[in-house]
Symmetry: C2
């Protein structure tokens, strides 16, 4: 097995990149009789095992599929068995291995649905998280887990201007599958959902994608760079302070995990596209092409809001100024790790382009980090100008489970102990 360094993989607990097996890496014949030789290319895979789960500080792959599940059983043992089964499956899928050896037993439905055969695993990561309703749903302690509920885990509230749709929001369990191949993400969620039959079923699912081959910071569908000021993935100090949970953080069993916020933000593409170039930059608070601040500093320089307290250069209600007022220590403590994707679906019911941002962030304390920022953005007295061009229709709050450090252990083990 080769091992090699990979951007960001030095962060504490992140798994190494290994070369996995892949069914179907044999000489194939193309339609028309032309042939391609046996592939020499490495099928890059990321190991499932580690103190933290992957898919948090892992450099964002090009595609994501986030799927929320409702647990339908009332038997905690069945839930526990599912977590064990999902643990094994996730390790197998991330290693680029099929879920069953071929030939599979012809008399039964295939254990592995097979659409991924011959595809590279694309650095697949599968990340598991749980929602508040797993611990307490409408006052009912469904699985005897209420006492284990992390202090900071609530259902996502409705912020000013949110238009949450029940069928796109919340969930008992969330699985995030990310890969450089959308078929691999689909295959992972499909097979995990199939294995959960009778115990949990899909509540919602949201796909996301980033530009495939790009230079520098990726762009959102408003045409602006998104993530310019995101922390570096190898900033271990930041991850320790602002992302990873410690045992004193509200639930000892959750140490090594983190809180995940998902928001499905529909962007009003047609309306946005009718705004002037100048207004677009004012609303966001950055230059469109370069991503530089509006006060003349170069791209990565911090804008100097303190020298512009009237908001003459960067409007007080511009998106970036409200998101991060650069108020020193307090702004640093608030900072979150964003790991979002664009989504580009078909038209909605009224014929608008159904596209936007699948906002995903990780933080150590939802209330003092994400919510603190979000409340500023949605303060009815001075709301983020960008809110006029977005509708948040779904998402939720989830607690990302600690990593699984060795075979035999399983996801959420501390929950059932």
């Amino acid at each position: 097995m080769n091992r090699r360094a990979f951007l960001g993989m030095t962060a504490a607990g992140a798994a190494g990149v290994v070369l996995g097996d892949l069914l179907g890496k044999t000489k194939q014949i193309l339609p028309g009789g032309s042939q391609v030789a046996t592939a020499d290319v490495a099928n890059e895979t990321i190991s499932f095992y580690g103190a933290h789960q992957t898919g948090v500080v892992t450099p964002a792959q090009n595609f994501a599929n986030i799927a929320a599940f409702d647990v339908t059983t009332s038997d905690v043992k069945e839930l526990q068995e599912l977590m064990k089964q999902w643990t094994e499956m996730a390790a197998t899928l991330m290693a680029g291995k099929p879920l069953a050896a071929e030939p599979q037993d012809a008399k039964f439905p295939p254990t592995d649905t097979g659409e991924q055969i011959g595809l590279d695993t694309g650095k697949l990561t599968i990340t598991f998280a749980v929602g508040a309703t797993l611990f307490d749903k409408e006052g009912v302690d469904r699985f005897g887990l209420r006492a284990k509920k992390p202090a900071g885990l609530t259902e996502m509230p409705i912020f000013h201007k949110d238009t949450l749709q029940e069928q796109l929001t919340h969930g008992d369990i969330v699985i995030q599958a990310c890969s450089d191949d959308p078929m691999i993400c689909f295959h992972a969620i499909r097979n995990l959902a199939k294995a959960a039959r009778g115990v949990a079923h899909l509540r919602w699912q949201q796909t996301g994608q980033l530009g495939v081959k790009s230079q520098g910071t990726k762009r959102n569908l408003f045409g602006f760079k998104d993530g310019t000021n995101n922390p570096a993935l190898n900033d271990e100090n930041f991850m320790k302070n602002n992302v990873w949970l410690e045992s004193g953080d509200g639930a000892a069993w959750l140490a090594g995990g983190t809180y995940m916020v998902v928001r499905r933000i529909h962007m009003r593409i047609e309306t946005w596209d009718q705004q002037t170039y100048s207004d677009q930059e004012t609303i966001i608070g950055r230059q469109k092409v370069s991503g530089a601040p509006l006060d003349g500093h170069a791209e990565m320089d911090q804008p100097k809001f303190s020298e512009d307290d009237q908001g003459k250069m960067t409007a007080l209600d511009s998106h970036i100024r409200l998101s991060n007022p650069r108020a020193g220590e307090s702004s640093e403590r608030e900072r979150i790790l964003r790991r979002g994707y664009n989504f580009m679906e078909n038209l909605d019911d009224v014929g608008r382009i159904n596209a936007g941002l699948l906002f995903v962030c990780f933080n150590r304390n939802i209330q003092t980090q994400f919510e603190s920022i979000q409340k500023r953005l949605t303060n009815p007295k001075l709301p983020d100008q960008m809110l006029a061009y977005t509708d948040t229709t779904g998402g939720g709050y989830f607690a990302v489970l600690p990593g699984v450090t060795a075979k035999g252990s399983y996801l959420g083990q501390g929950l059932f102990a």
Copy 2:
């Protein structure tokens, strides 16, 4: 400019692969201060110009976005102007160039929406086609074009078991954008739709995707290879006989074009996944992993249905046997060029995985090729077994316009002459 050979690009009239410009190919700074050097990688682009449009015999890129438009103007001159504008835009987009030079005029909405800045063009092709309703809609000759209507162009009929939804079906104009980057496909359709404001608007849109890095024939979401028996893209003889229209084919102005059939085929994933491995192979009529026929021949060998007239090895109502009965000359004449994609959306209204096949094919005569095959598959007396696992919800029939051979000419010019 470099030029190089590219699989399938030798087919008559297919455009060469050239290296295009791309805004944003400069040194960029990553979050956290690390840097990447200026890209040396070629941004592969395909030339827009040629006797045939691209996106037909072009090797399938990994992503597609097919968008249908309703023409809303009743002024043929506005329609003609739109075709001229779209021609210029398509040539620019395919060359990997922005639709407007930066800095754009700050007082107006951006001409180019900008989300593609910094991304590779991913061999973008944009293919334009027109539907029967452009010539005659409910008996009305909307643009004085009725006399130009190609003989073989009708609205797609409802085949046995089809569940076509009006808002996902038909359209006056269809644009197919294909690229190795889904953001590039989205950007193309978005900007073409934006430019059409007041003249045409989006009726439906459907995204599709293939596995990113795969060996050999790609697979559909039933886990089977799809396209094993598709003609080779460099088989010029096949394209001449079965794909490209000649001036005697029903409309002289359409010579160099072809007919396109689109069908949005939802696959009942959850139901399929409960069928036994053996039943899945029987329904399709091929081995799942290898794609080989069920009668013992190797992958690319033709199954010998004549030696199995009772259907003991390959069921008479299996998908591949009904699709292509290998009846010699008559089956050869029917053969179509498939260029389909998988689609993987979120859940549907009743919580099922909303995924399937975006079937796309090109043929010289819809009635004697696609429809002849399709009528066999949907014959109520012996329907394709696979129909029990699919629902066709949208699509349409379209005439792909001839290529534009030189600057100054435009798409559909022969239509307005």
